[in-house]
Amino acid sequence: MSGRTLFDKIWDLHRVEDLGDGMQLMYVDRHVMHELSGHRGQTEIAKRGLKMRSPELTIGSMDHVVSTVPGARGGNAPWADKMIETFRSESRKAGVRVYDIGQDGQGIVHVVAPELGFTLPGTLLVCGDSHTCTNGALGAVAWGIGTSELLHVLATQTIVQQRPKTLRVRFEGAPPRGVSAKDLILALIGKLGTAGGVGHAVEYAGEAIRNLDMEGRMTVCNLSIELGAKVGMIAPDQKTYDYLKGRRHTPAGARWTEALAHWQTLPSDADAKFDQEHTLECARLAPQITWGTSPEDVIGVDGRIPDAKPEALAYMGLNAGQPIAGTRVDRVFIGSCTNSRLPDLRAAAAVARGRKTAKHIKAWVVPGSWRIKQDAEAEGLHRIFLDAGFEWREAGCSMCVAANGDYVEPLARCVSTSNRNFVGRQGPQARTHLASPAMAAAAAIAGEIVDVRSF
């Protein structure tokens, strides 16, 4: 019998019942709610006269509709305040711990769940948001769910799911200077396409992944959904355990010892079989940037805009054959569940230090959580950004999803550290180029798309 994968080991431990034809009833260890999808679920569960089965296994935070205006403590509009209040009061009634605005623990759900030690290796975690795959960086099986599934989790602490196939991607070689976790995963999406992982749980492995810090691993797993996979994960190792120890929800004492012994059994066996395998060589990669309206439309920053997808080029206002570097930019957004953690902000600040943003540029830095904001300020990162002409804002999803009124203006061009360059994603007619925090900071300084390696 061949060995088992990380995914197989976790999956099999959570199967409550086989429902036939590949559908399985799966136990949910960890559920995370935010106000936008959470309040819908709470409204629906009340309508149906059902109760939450295990509120102690759910936490909540506020991220999608919160205002990120410096000093703000609520929504950007009355409807947003009302949603926040509904989510707050329904959570209290149900006994769900919510990390509220202005509190340690508030922030983008996929940033705070690991930060609070709520996400643990070996757990099955779901949340009403597609980027829940981020949590797989700690060795969890985690994916995003819709409103009906959210209601199902609230009422039953389980979810019905078809078992996905497995795919392993090895990132081999050492990425050169200027190439970050974001560049690795964008390059992979460029290679396999946005449907490359459909129907699969992806395990990221190889030297370049092992060498990433936990935050970098979260960036890689975050974009799994942009590879078409609901689940992306990385085997836990000493870095994972060091990261988790002592966090608010992390087990302590004898429970830590017991948990650790279990976690150490989780990595894929040497002879484990995957349904598919791919390898990405990292040694010669350039910093990546998207040119179109899908994350798969990506090239090295030293490349030329390809002669493809004419509709995407028209939307983006770009001409095939031109170098992408030198394209004038209007906005820069550093933030989102992809790239808003402390090392991301440090990488951007290293580029911004002692420099000024171009005159026509409006650049924002939006930390992923209240805690990250405090820690960054303790290091003086906010000073670097403010001195360079960036806005330093409150934690939230902000301009990644534009649910809170943080928009890119029509036809304006934005270099963004977020995850989706879809038509209209950052606002109607907004033109998004996805890139790493260092590349985004460099674009803010240069006023155009520029190779951060020249800084």
């Binding site: 019942e17 102690e56 389980t158 609901k230 989706r420």
Partner: protein, 200 residues
Amino acid sequence: MNKFQTLTAIAAPFPQKNVDTDFIIRVERCTGTPKEELGKYAFEMARFLPGGGDNPDFVLNQPRYRGARILVCGAFFGTGSSREMAVWAIAGMGIRCLIAPSFGQIFFGNCFQNGLLPIVLPAAAVDDLTEKASAQNAQPFTVDLAQQTINGSLAFEISPRRKKMLLEGQDEIGLTLALDAKISAFQAADRVKRPWIYPG
């Protein structure tokens, strides 16, 4: 939930690839718009002109496709965000069946929760249906879920469990609540096996 048994309706060709859920329903419509009103805003960036009014180029605005209840889609339809409002919006336009070579995975699952049938077929078969739906003398399509056929001869696959749920209009939560004792037993055993999962 609405049952899905046999559907005979106009099919509209919509071959655009990678149609994402942000494109299907804008995030502003997900914040407070009642479920029943979302159909008005489906595909709004393509369906309406910037100054208001219908965009005549959008397929579902063309007289022959008004009232379409089947969409023949491009690859990877429904990619992106988990927002179930994308399914509610499409269903709100009266669409009951989507046919595509592949779907965004969260969107695909959300369809079954709302009585919307997503059918996956090989790209060549979808191309053929796109051509049929685009023809000047296009005839309505018939989707027979019990027989798992389109227009009587083209077979499609579906999980038997999901098929039964659609045919009978069953609700997943109802089915799972009937397994409550099994969940309790699982949880009790798990508390012993993995105590660190549980607070306190």
